[in-house]
Symmetry: C2
Subunit: 296 residues, 2 copies
């Protein structure tokens, strides 16, 4: 199997089977007809599982895909963690506090004949991949990060906006705009120069005690950490606001934060020829996101 040759440290389950292969007739491959999620494994358990599963179900629902049950997915995840842990423990003893793995869950509409028409009795496919947790530079947490301003403009498609589907060519093209490894992500605007998100994270801008994040009803992926930060804003005495933010408005923010399920939250210190002083919001958010009381 090609996968095992180039990705020796990864564990994969396709429809629950270790030696199953992906069909070239899978509509995930033919059309990007599916959705996915990426979540960390902390202390042997998938982080914020119920929230991730809810979002996965909701994204599947938008595309009319029948989402596999939580029990089936959890059983796959447990198998993957077990296999990966036994391999990892041979190499090193990972810190109990930091996440050990990343689980990627892909759900597609399943196989079909040639043609866009959805099969009447589609059997959804599930592909779960367990990889080592990425090693982020410590400076991103301590000092903050630098962002690129992408040239690509996200297109408006309200029928797909917000969901994490497999049509990700815009992200691929945008991510190819920079090679500088000091740049951690790129800010994506729409054709009206409204700020939407980054290629792999969502974005927040604090103006005084107001915490803004872009409205994603026309484009962008509404990540789970974005949702959790919106719920946590009150704990930090911030008024949350979900609205259109122009690039020029963003540049006036007191503090900019990017977030996703893997790194939590980072402060943006440099973007579009402007610098921001070091401020505590990203740290505070990371602490709150890790707290077991964070789930409202």
């Amino acid at each position: 199997m090609t996968a095992s040759q180039t990705n020796k440290s990864k564990h994969v389950l396709i429809n629950g089977q270790q030696d199953e292969s992906l069909s070239p007739f899978d509509r995930g491959f033919s059309y990007g007809d599916g959705v996915f999620r990426t979540l960390p494994v902390i202390k042997g358990h998938p982080d914020s599982w119920l929230d991730h599963y809810k979002k996965l179900m909701s994204d599947c629902h938008v595309l009319g895909i029948v989402c596999p049950s939580a029990e089936i997915l959890l059983s796959d995840i447990e198998k993957l963690i077990q296999a990966s842990s036994s391999e990892q423990s041979k190499k090193q003893t990972p810190s109990k506090e930091t996440p050990s793995f990343v689980i990627k869950i892909i759900i597609t509409r399943g196989e079909s004949e040639r043609g866009y028409a959805m099969p009447a009795l589609a059997q959804p496919s599930r592909v779960l991949i367990c990889s080592d947790f990425p090693t982020y530079p410590e400076s991103s947490f301590v000092e903050g990060v630098k962002l690129h301003l992408c040239n690509l403009r996200l297109s408006h498609q309200p029928l797909l906006a917000g969901i994490k589907h497999l049509n990700r060519l815009e992200n691929v093209i945008a991510r190819a705009e920079w090679q500088d490894s000091n740049i951690i992500d790129g800010v994506l605007l729409d054709a009206n120069n409204m700020v939407i998100e980054c290629t792999s994270s969502n974005i927040f801008a604090r103006f005084g005690t107001q915490l803004h994040t872009p409205d994603l009803s026309n484009c962008g992926v509404a990540g789970l950490t974005r949702q959790r930060i919106l719920e946590l804003a009150g704990d930090l005495s911030l008024q949350r606001s979900v609205s259109n933010i122009s690039l020029s408005h963003l540049m006036q923010a007191d503090e900019i934060i990017i977030c996703n399920s893997l790194f939590g939250a980072w402060q943006v210190r440099e973007f579009n020829h402007q610098h921001w002083p070091q401020l505590p919001l990203a740290n505070q958010l990371r602490t709150l996101l890790k707290s077991p009381h964070a789930h409202h």
Copy 2:
């Protein structure tokens, strides 16, 4: 292999190998990071091969994917035709005049680690699928076809417009808008109510001696048959025009044609509560498209 279970009559080559499987790390699956083509096999040969290959190369170029050589792809195609022909001849003797098979060629950027960044040394993947030629209703050729007006509006993404990439969720959602098997395709507009294409074909509108087809610089797939019809317009004493066409403008057309590489050209007889009389352009175009002199 799952594929062979549900698609017994199909022949597939993955990177030239019959028993190769698709990797779940292939970026075609993860992100729709690739392009494809669909072409008929006529009298044992891929139809308009050089034109299809040129377009495949050009689409790959837009995404920065290194397209496999024509020799490699032709060798795959010949293997597939041979395998499929020997199987088909056991079942029936196909007419020499009608296409026997459809070849679908998918080229992806290849495998990579998790994340949108393009791998530095990507080895593109090629998947070739040979299926039986679809049996279109005779009435579509003789009497013409009926189209649906899609509710979905195509999004504007000039960086991807025109190319036949694997991000096809818009087509999937639009195609799911109708179940009536008498409706042969659906007309897609953009957010400005400009006519762009159909879900699986391009569209032409004749106004007197002017043959219009929509401009595809913001969205849509520029099919090969669209290009060939533009080149053939002069042979029919028609002035070609590539420009924006609003829905209300389209409704005033003397004749509407849809086209693709498989069926050639069909006249639209019914669309958006309006009927058109039977006229000869689609027939004339089909004859010209089949002629060996059609390639300018």
